[in-house]
Amino acid sequence: MTERAVSITPPELGALSEKFLGGYDRVYLGSEFCQHLLPSLNDVRALKDKGVKELTVLTPLLPTAQLRSFLKLFGRILKLYPRAELSLGDLGLMRAVNRAYGGAVPLLLARPVSADFIRMDEAFLARFFAENNLRLLETDEPDRVAAFKGRGIKFSFHYPFKYLSMTRLCPFVKGGACSRACAGKILEIRQTAPYRGSFLLKNNTYFSENSAPPPEGVARTVFALAAGPRKEKLLSFSAAARSKKAGGARR
């Protein structure tokens, strides 16, 4: 059975109803791309108040001071959610959490760092996951999931945004500190002549659209709330049609 999760950043949390969040098995909170979108303890409390049972905290690459401060915060989050998972984009955080909790915290390898790991030797990867308490490799690359031959790795699939690139020079910050001016915004960035095509800017990250439904065989699907629930419905219809067609072909 594929677990269904929804991914939200802290500024998106306020508008979400208990009923909406109850439609998912798990909620991802935070950002694997931006250090300014990590949740606060109040955000996690708000999630708890909305009846969310299973939590995954998303974390990005972190400089030393931010890593240390997140570790303290995570200790408090664990008191609210003792089974909380940590999706990490930083190998230093992986080391620190494993040292602090002795492997008791379930870890996931987050995008975009996972893009390197999904291209690594599969035997090494299986050993690396086992040695470092990593449970899932988070990806948005359906072709890589399909091509993966090793059996020791399980995937969670993020959609409908496919990662392209990210920056620490946030396009939404106009001088000074981050005020989360990116909240609720997705910009379409169009190329100019002689180039063609467009891509999306969400927070500090550039994406293309993962328009295909999630591939079969993944342990978990993670839908980015920012794309809008309607988009998810359209993609599930498309996935259902694909299953039906595959079933027909087998007959």
Partner: protein, 284 residues
């Protein structure tokens, strides 16, 4: 007086190696076409014999040559391990690596050399450094996106790991280059420097100015970064200009100037090289 910062430069041929040895490079690095390494369109050597000949030539001049194998490619892992073993046995001074599986395989095969963690591996904090030290890393190229203040603890590490930085006002990706899937294809007009549109407005991926970058370099040096690295540009003349500018900047850093004065004088150096880059751009 602080020790002079070392200058490291990437080369793609014996001719380039000779050029940079004569110009005063302290360390050099190179790649092979058959082994994945970063920078699309960069010049590489064709055979291990050529790389070993370059190693001997560098050693004769009292310099070091490193080998860049800083991409991830599982199908080529075995070949990459065997190539590095051959080069290390032949006297190569070290290897620049991104792929953790490669580091692991070399450690298992007991290949003893100077392991340099590529800037593309994103060693952003002291914990990550400790993690890679466990794999035998002796030097780290700092991520271009990490500021000196953030790197302070990492630079003062207890493991004796040295740090390299880039001349960022010339060579720095606006986005995280090791984690970037934008369609760059090397050359002089990289994807992120193009003009885009968002709605009716122009959209550009912008970064800090040269003064800020040079001030960062000053701080990195004061905090202990020992090597200034000049990457391999697809255009060898551009690399030569960047190297010459880096050499002048290193001399300025060695003068022990106050920060503001260093930045002002380095900006004047930059201005002279800007004109040469413009000339190069128009004529290539």
């Amino acid at each position: 007086m602080m020790r002079r910062m070392k200058l490291q430069v990437g080369v793609g041929s014996l001719e380039e190696l000779d050029y940079y040895l004569a110009e005063g490079a302290d360390e050099l690095y190179c790649g092979l076409y058959s082994i994945p390494n970063h920078v699309e369109g960069a010049r590489n050597f064709s055979t291990t014999a050529e790389v070993l000949a370059a190693t001997q030539r560098a050693h004769k001049a009292g310099r070091k040559l490193f080998f860049a194998a800083n991409e991830v490619h599982k199908e080529l892992l075995g070949r990459t391990v065997e190539t590095i073993k051959e080069l290390v046995a032949g006297g190569m001074d070290g290897v620049i690596i991104k792929d953790l599986a490669l580091l692991d395989a070399l450690k298992k095969k007991k290949v003893r050399t100077h392991y340099i963690l590529s800037t593309l591996s994103y060693c952003m904090n002291a914990e990550t450094l400790a993690f890679y030290v466990g794999y035998g890393v002796k030097r780290v190229a700092l991520p271009e996106q990490l500021g000196p203040e953030e790197a302070k603890e990492l630079l003062r590490n207890p493991y004796g790991v040295k740090a390299e930085v880039f001349l960022k006002h010339r060579e720095c990706c606006i986005n995280y280059n090791g984690l970037c899937f934008l369609d760059c294809h090397g050359g002089l007009t990289t994807f992120c420097k193009r003009p885009f549109r968002s709605g009716k407005a122009e959209y550009r991926m912008t970064g800090p100015g040269a003064a800020e970058r040079l001030a960062e370099l000053y701080d990195y040096r004061r905090l202990g970064a020992e090597v200034l690295k000049v990457g391999r540009s697809p255009v060898k003349e551009a690399s030569r200009l960047i190297f010459r500018e880096a050499r002048q900047v290193v001399e300025l850093l060695g003068l022990g100037l106050p920060r503001e004065e260093f930045v002002a004088r380095a900006l004047r150096v930059k201005k002279g090289f800007d004109a040469l880059h413009r000339y190069l751009g128009k004529n290539l």
